[in-house]
Symmetry: C2
Subunit: 369 residues, 2 copies
């Protein structure tokens, strides 16, 4: 099967670029002496994540219990569910654990600790828990210097239904950094905050064997990871235009794209129409506006065009006279995404290419919840 045989829009994965990205992260973390627990929320594919855990302990990070189910079914058992747990999901987590998945959960408050301990008792379950630590003021977590941290640790350690396993943090604000210096500083801030939190627990006589940190930018820009026991990252497998904009990757490292077809020429409006719109690309406008950058469907050579706006199934590309001539109706192009996580989630499966036009494999994704 060739790309030309696919009905568009379709998701394409460039395997040599994926392997390059995996090797880059693996080498970087090996140099820092810390193992990787890949975050599978971007990939959502056991076929892909098998490559990502090569040479690593084998643990993964998930953002949904649907991912946990998919990866358990494919033999992954060491699973960190890294979104603050809703008490209503604990019966499902307990069920996954009964079926052999060592699912650990995260929480960041006394209220959640008490809710989990209470539900665990009712379910006859025991949940390993990481306390989520806020190292960038961005979203969830308890601050490393908040005295509540140790109190949460004490409750988790004391309750029969919870086992304190350590701390985790995610410096999502690394996506707002604008220079290598800022990224390095954010990586150190993430590391130092997580280690400080673990040390606060240990100083109170509590266990904290796991110190888990990570985002793709901080993982790739960290200069040291002393005290960290594992790194989590997900989008590094694909990269995208947001990562390129941060200086985390170059365009030719972006492994994910959406195959689309030219379906209209509006010379009067200076617009080429594609059959990939907001559903196929996502409405994530990234940082530069627009919804993706066009490259040649086979060679991935830049075309110097962007999807400037989208409707549900239409992408609108501002174009000059020469563009209409080189991209006649029916021509396939590929679109590099702003945000790989969102774009990939719009599709059922990856069409894997080895740099050319042949579809070498088809990998299914575990979308939804």
């Amino acid at each position: 099967m060739l790309l030309a045989d696919l009905e568009t829009p379709a998701l394409v994965l460039d395997r040599p670029r994926v392997l390059h990205n995996l090797a880059r992260m693996r080498d970087r973390l090996a140099a820092l002496g810390v193992p990787l627990r890949p975050h599978v929320k971007t990939a959502k594919s056991a076929d892909l994540v098998r490559l990502a855990v090569d040479g690593q302990p084998g643990g993964i990070t998930v953002s949904t219990l649907k991912e946990a189910e998919h990866f358990l079914a494919h033999g992954f058992v060491d699973i960190l569910y890294a979104v603050g747990v809703a008490p209503g999901k604990l019966a499902h987590v307990a069920d996954l654990r009964r079926r052999g998945a060592d699912v650990a959960i995260v929480l960041d408050s006394l209220a959640a600790a008490d809710a989990v301990a209470g539900r665990a008792e009712a379910l006859g379950a025991r949940f390993p828990v990481l306390i989520e630590v806020d190292t960038d003021g961005g979203r969830a977590g308890v601050r490393p210097d908040d005295r509540c941290l140790v109190e949460i640790g004490r409750r988790l350690d004391a309750a029969a239904g919870t086992a304190l396993r350590g701390v985790m943090t995610h410096a999502g604000r690394s996506y707002e950094c604008r220079s290598p210096e800022a990224l390095r500083a954010m990586a150190e801030q993430e590391r130092a905050g997580a280690v400080a939190a673990a040390e606060a627990l240990r100083a109170a006589g509590l266990p904290a064997p796991v110190v888990s940190v990570g985002s793709t930018p901080t993982a790739l820009f960290a200069e040291r990871l002393n005290g960290v026991t594992e790194v989590r990252a997900g989008v590094y497998m694909f990269m995208d235009l947001v990562m390129e904009g941060l200086g985390v990757c170059t365009e030719d490292e972006i492994a994910l794209s959406v195959l689309a077809t030219v379906i209209g020429h509006r010379r009067d409006l200076g617009t080429i129409l594609l059959d990939a719109g907001g559903l196929a690309l996502s409405k994530d406008a990234g940082r530069g506006g627009g919804y993706g950058r066009l490259v040649d469907a086979v060679t991935s050579a830049p075309l110097g065009l962007v999807v400037a706006s989208v409707n549900q199934e239409h992408g609108l590309v501002p174009a000059a006279d020469a563009d209409f001539a080189r991209l006649p109706i029916g021509t396939q192009v590929r679109i590099l995404p702003n945000h790989a996580c969102m774009t990939a989630a719009a599709h059922e499966r990856y069409h894997v290419v080895d740099g050319g036009e042949a579809v070498a494999a088809v990998w299914e994704r575990c979308n939804f919840w």
Copy 2:
């Protein structure tokens, strides 16, 4: 099953509101004497569209061939595929037609007309074609006064593999209108342009039995539809915050919502965290910014809160002291979407409620392509 039993995020459909919205459109078009060809791109559910075609001729509009497959499998045979066709999809269209679906296609250029005629010959197929007409300068189509229109009509009429069936237009710029007057004017512009195009074809001795127009705003604000043979609309079944912002509906007519759970309290940041983020809500920021408005999970009473920002699986809700007290961790809420088409597409199925907390039915969606 109750909403409280669902794992969140989950898509909820309020059936009484849907029925109200369907009746409103049906009554409006009945008063104007024009039948409805519902656009199923928002619903993507045969269970739902069966209700929408009640009392209508039964034809539907699709935006993907996946929708065509789903609806053919559920007994719908009169199908307009209303996105400019990519030549590479014609074999699939021909296959659908062989299996009993009267799929009509749309195009808007001589190049596309020639491509379709050529492919039809190669496939031994004959495709009914509507010429897409641009009545608002927004996206696709040939302008009603462009002499190219009649030329396209002549080629389609002359070719063995194409049958000219008429014209269609979609005034998508109705979404930019800011007043009832502007909406009424846009509806008339859409109608007049489509009718003018059909008359130009007829004046040249060409057939144009179908004059198809529509968008939810123009369908509901049109004051006359003389010369129009059918109206297309889709989001009217659900409504959303964009439609509310246009004055097309009120908040209590919005039938679609995302059930979510409070998973974190950041009193220090003034933020409540929900387990519905960019994937569950879409990244469509609508017109007012933010990603949706919170209502009570059971009563749909307004909570006076919005999802101000999202990450993949997190929604962040600015909150005051009293909000933390009334929305403890574990509380379910529902989120009214900015853009129903995009939000619904993030989910596999609808959980149908009849205004209360009981899930009365589960309806599957046909996502992807």
